[in-house]
Amino acid sequence: MENKKNYKAASFWALFIVIFAAVPLVKTSDYQLMLANHILLWGMFAVAFNMLFGLTGMLSFGQALYYGLGAYAVGMTVRYMGEAWFLPAIGAGLVAAIILSILVGLLTIRLSGVFFTVLTLAFGQLVWQIVFTCYHITGGDDGIQGIIPPGVLSNRVVYYYFALALVLVSLWCLRRLVDSPMGLLLRCIRQNPERVRFVGGQVRRNQLRIYMISSFFAALAGALMAGVDNSIHPDMLYWTTSGEVILMAVLGGIGRFFGPFIGAAVIIVIGEVVGARTEFWPLIIGLVMMVMVLLLPRGLAGEFQLLRARLASATNGNRG
């Protein structure tokens, strides 16, 4: 059984890698490459967000803060110090995300449930407001354009593989984390924090850790996104970005590791079909969210698995 499970997981990863590695070979336009890159980075962002919500049960409405922080670290460094600093800027963004997530986490994790959600939202809006107000430094509403990665990375295909490699390493780390003793403890915290305390587990400390980890990968996604779009804008910090990543996770399924990734792919494809910047985009994602919460709370991945299990038991029942 264990072997079969490992075999299935390995073949899934292999399929995942083959599909995304093949994109530059079969693409017919740069636009498709960008789309694949968006799916990768949003997918990583959504999986990292789900470490908080799906795994630990902490609904953060402020992960755009770290996503935008990563993006602005890269954007502002390139703007003021030149493109040679692109890679160090990614590192700086990650360090900044860790420091900020410790500070914000220490304040927000003191409260639980809806208060945690709304406080993370408020902190996200606080940083957005600062970026918006300091327009002479950050570019304000216009954001920053012309962020070109240096050297070979300025080639779109090379940059794509660079991002793919980092996303794969990140997803693999997160997968290991879910299966680790800490992952088990986090699942216990989701179900019953009181009992975790009774058996001697550290609830707050582990919540803070996973908050830092999730924020770290959100910042990585944002930093890499700056190189894909060659531009950043304050919307990356705005609360709707947090809302979108939550929708991706819920749509794909918060109970499965790759669920949020699937959700991200679906949302991005829908966004491209109907035009993400149309007036009715919020209405569409609002209705999708409503349907998922009311009718399909397990998400696409979870409901699909349930359906398969039911079919299997139905056919077994017929045989017996």
Partner: protein, 295 residues
């Protein structure tokens, strides 16, 4: 900075505090009684403002009937939202998260519907006849409309408190907060109670939105600003704490008014500053009774 200037700022802070309190108390009412966190509460505020505008500009009613339309409309919309959607997820595992997600979808849907109906331009509403001027007291000029809002707010606060603490309906609401199952077995229609409480709370939001419409222009997307501000109020005052919410609103309103007067471009950050300071020094809210800290 002379005395009359300070007094004027104090008064405009008090006006804002009254409106904030009306919204925040609706939020705490739903949370306290129904254990539902209505993330879309600010959207009902916005709907109220638009309905008041609609009544005055298209149906040519006077100002005060328009406010009534705003409150009624928001209340009915709230009852529909509760009975058609929210009710379906009561009792589900990890209900809290799903409540936020569902009410978050309300924000998006209501925002876009408002844009569809009224467009994206700023709307403005005239102050009611008779309250457009100001009252002169010595060297001070007091805008009459601000004074009216503060007065109405006080009346609503006292009325709400009396209803909650002195009447049978208030007792039922408070009992629902403690044990819904028990309340049901005593013969009270609990689902109906929940819908009504939701309706009253959203009507208070819509009422505040209508009252605020002449002071701030009516725009789509106002819902999220209002919900963050009222949440900060609730964090300062302590959730479910009626008088705490009032003092929280007062603090936030005054900080904002004096912030706008001194450093206008940074004023909106002051709200967050108050929130951060509260969280650092007294995370359970300034006016909540000190409880034993959990380890």
């Amino acid at each position: 900075m002379d005395l009359s200037f300070i007094f004027m700022q104090f008064l405009s802070g008090l006006t804002m505090a009254t409106l904030l309190f009306l919204v925040a108390s609706g939020l705490t009412l739903i949370f306290g009684v129904g254990n539902v966190f209505n993330f879309a509460h600010g959207s009902f505020f916005m709907v109220g403002a638009y309905l008041a505008y609609q009544a005055v500009s298209a149906w040519h009613t006077h100002f005060w009937p328009a406010i009534l339309v705003a409150a009624l409309g928001a209340g009915i919309l709230g009852m529909l939202a509760e009975s058609l959607f929210l009710r379906r997820i009561y009792g589900r595992a990890e209900e809290g998260g799903f409540q936020i997600l569902l009410t978050y979808s309300f924000i998006l849907v209501i925002d876009d519907l408002v844009k569809l109906i009224w467009g994206t331009e700023y709307k403005s509403l005239q102050r009611p006849a008779g309250l457009t001027g100001s009252i002169e007291v010595g060297s001070l000029t007091i805008p009459a409309y601000n004074l009216a809002i503060i007065g109405i707010g006080l009346v609503v606060v006292v009325l709400a408190w009396l209803i909650l603490s002195r009447t049978r309906s208030g007792r039922i609401a408070r009992a629902a907060a403690v044990d819904r199952e028990m309340l049901g077995s005593m013969g009270v229609n609990v689902p109906l109670t929940m819908t009504l409480v939701f309706g009253i709370a959203t009507a208070m939001g819509g009422f505040a939105g209508g009252l605020a419409a002449p002071l701030r222009s009516v725009t789509p997307g106002a819902g999220i600003e209002v919900i963050i501000d009222s949440l900060i109020v609730v964090v300062i005052g302590g959730m479910g704490n009626f008088w705490g919410a009032w003092l929280g609103a007062l603090i936030l309103g005054e900080v904002n008014a004096f912030g706008v007067a001194t450093v206008p471009e940074w004023a909106s950050l002051f709200n967050y500053l108050v929130m951060v300071l509260t969280l650092i020094f007294k995370p359970e809210g300034l006016f909540a009774p000190r409880r034993i800290r959990k380890v």
